[in-house]
């Protein structure tokens, strides 16, 4: 099926994995800076300015601090699970990234390398990826819940336990709405493979003659549901009840310090990236954007990645913007919103979309 032999394939895969993880974690580090800067601006402050120009080296200083801090393990924790939990959270959030395509492909010598960890290039130059890419992301997120749940339980502390109970209830509830909101797009695209979903948005021409054929326009409601559910899945404000600091100290990671705490932090931000990537792929045409023919060839090759990154940046920005703007939900409001509003709305959206798809076919 694939044209390269196993050894090359594994080598290329390892390089891709290393590269993606490096870029992703650097991105995560700088997102924390962006968040602090933006929230500071929203609150009419400066944010970090001391380390490096405009505070640009702040993430580096934070990283050094996390690594050098004493790694405390409280006395009465369930040690195995206590150590496993942050690893699980981070590992699952990184696994989800593996199926995300960042662009078409780049040619290195005689190899065509798809810009996706799990992508495969065929002999005729066509690309394919895992048929169930989307389901893998959902699966990895649903296993990631264990990280949060176990962290709270194994810490053997009231606040942690309450935080993780909230987190698991919230994540199970909103996973439903999240999954169902994607069905509308899947009905239009007719595939679970992320690459073909993006392709089907490009081949479709234009909506009303001028709008790009992105699925956000016919699936505006689905996008709204997705966005709400995604905020809840990543435990971000206004749905950050699992770590509501005014009630629960810090929720499920109260008892964690140093690098273990940093792993939860990274997992949360990697999840934000995954959610942003998924929204870009499903609703915003993925890596496609206006062609800029005046650029030199090497930049032309990276242009899709640039458009992709720009769209993902938009979502990260939105996350931070909302964090700086909205207050936190109350817990019963959160549950009612998920089960009584988002879920029925998602089901109605599916029914209407399937009728339209069936009528057109």
């Amino acid at each position: 099926m694939n044209t390269v032999d196993l050894k090359t394939y594994i080598l290329v895969a390892v390089i891709k994995i290393a590269l993606v993880i490096f870029i992703l974690l650097t991105g995560v580090a700088y997102t924390t800076l962006l968040e602090r800067k933006l929230v500071a601006r929203i609150q009419n402050r400066w944010g970090p300015t001391r380390v490096g120009p405009f505070g640009l080296l702040q993430p580096l200083a934070d990283g050094v601090k996390f690594i050098l801090k004493e790694d405390m393990v409280p006395d009465s924790v369930h040690k195995g699970l206590y150590i496993l939990a942050p690893m699980l959270a981070l590992a699952m959030s990184l696994i989800a990234i593996a199926v995300i395509p960042f662009g078409e492909s780049v040619a290195v010598r005689n190899l065509t390398l798809p810009l996706q960890i799990t992508g495969v290039a065929h002999a005729d130059g066509s690309l394919s990826d895992i048929n169930i890419g989307l389901l893998i992301i959902l699966g990895a997120t649903s296993i990631g819940v264990y990280g949060v749940a176990l962290a709270g339980w194994s810490s053997n502390s009231k606040y942690s336990l309450l935080g993780s109970l909230r987190a698991s209830a919230q994540m199970i509830s909103y996973e439903l709405a999240l999954g169902l909101s994607l069905v509308g797009v899947l009905l239009l695209a007719g595939s679970l493979s992320l690459r073909s979903i993006v392709d089907s948005q490009i081949q479709g021409g234009r909506w009303l003659g001028f709008l790009p054929h992105w699925y956000i326009f016919p699936q505006l409601i689905a996008f709204f549901i997705y966005l709400m559910a995604a905020f809840a899945e990543t435990n971000r404000i206004p749905f950050d009840l699992p770590e509501a600091e005014t009630e629960l100290v810090a929720g499920y990671h109260t008892e964690y310090s140093a690098m273990k705490f940093a792993m939860f932090f990274m997992a949360e931000y990697v999840n934000m990236f995954t959610v942003g990537c998924l929204a870009t792929l499903l609703f915003f045409g993925g890596w496609h954007g206006p062609a800029l023919p005046f650029l030199p060839p090497i930049l032309q090759m990276l242009l899709p990645v640039f458009w992709f990154a720009l769209k993902v940046f938009f979502f990260i920005f939105l996350y931070i913007w909302i964090r700086g703007t909205l207050p936190r939900f109350r817990y019963d409001q959160l549950m009612a919103f998920g089960w009584k509003f988002l879920l029925p709305l998602a089901i109605v959206n599916i029914i209407v979309t399937s009728f339209i798809v069936a009528w057109r076919a």
């Binding site: 699966g139 649903s142 749940a149 698991s168 199970i172 996973e175």
Partner: protein, 166 residues
């Protein structure tokens, strides 16, 4: 070759998880062993080419259902269980019965091994999402719908029981 190695690895993990499930005394550890069993089963489905079933196995069983198990264990704050010595009936009847069943299954497997076909990744549509959708929503639509009604009844029953207590 790679398939066989992977199958052996995940098969071993699966069996180890299942044994660990029985050996562990704390319910949380047992529940997590079950997650391991289910995830490695999903990977074995994946090796057979049944990608959709594999994904659903992870999302529904390892993800949703087991998270609920863990959630309930956490909520009730169940502690480690005490070990009893075990019943004599289990020892007298159970162990011979298991041995007999294992022997019979093993004997059939060995003696009839030429009758079994080989299973590998099939080039056809087998196990793909479309194929399963065809089966569920065309060929077996009625059983599928009846099953969903059955589950709905179970949910309603749970709601009724939950209401009664409060």
């Amino acid at each position: 070759m790679v398939h066989q190695i992977l199958f052996i690895i995940f098969g071993l993990i699966c069996v180890a998880g299942a044994i660990n499930l029985l050996v562990q005394r704390h319910p949380i550890n047992s529940a997590l062993s079950l997650v391991v069993v289910m995830s490695s089963l999903a990977l074995i489905y994946l090796l057979l080419g049944a990608e959709f079933v594999a994904a659903i196995q992870v999302i529904v069983y390892a993800g949703a259902i087991m998270v609920l198990f863990v959630f309930v264990i956490m909520l009730l704050n169940a502690g480690a269980e005490e070990r009893t010595k075990g019943s004599h009936i289990a020892l007298l009847m159970g162990v011979p019965a298991v041995t007999v069943v294992a022997c019979v299954v093993g004997w059939i497997m060995v003696s009839q091994r030429h009758e079994f076909g080989e299973v590998g990744i099939s080039p056809t549509n087998f196990g793909k999402t479309e194929a399963i959708a065809q089966l569920l929503f065309k060929d077996f639509l009625l059983p599928f719908e009846i099953t969903s009604v059955l589950i709905l009844i179970a949910i309603m029953g749970a709601v009724v029981l939950g209401k009664k207590e409060s």
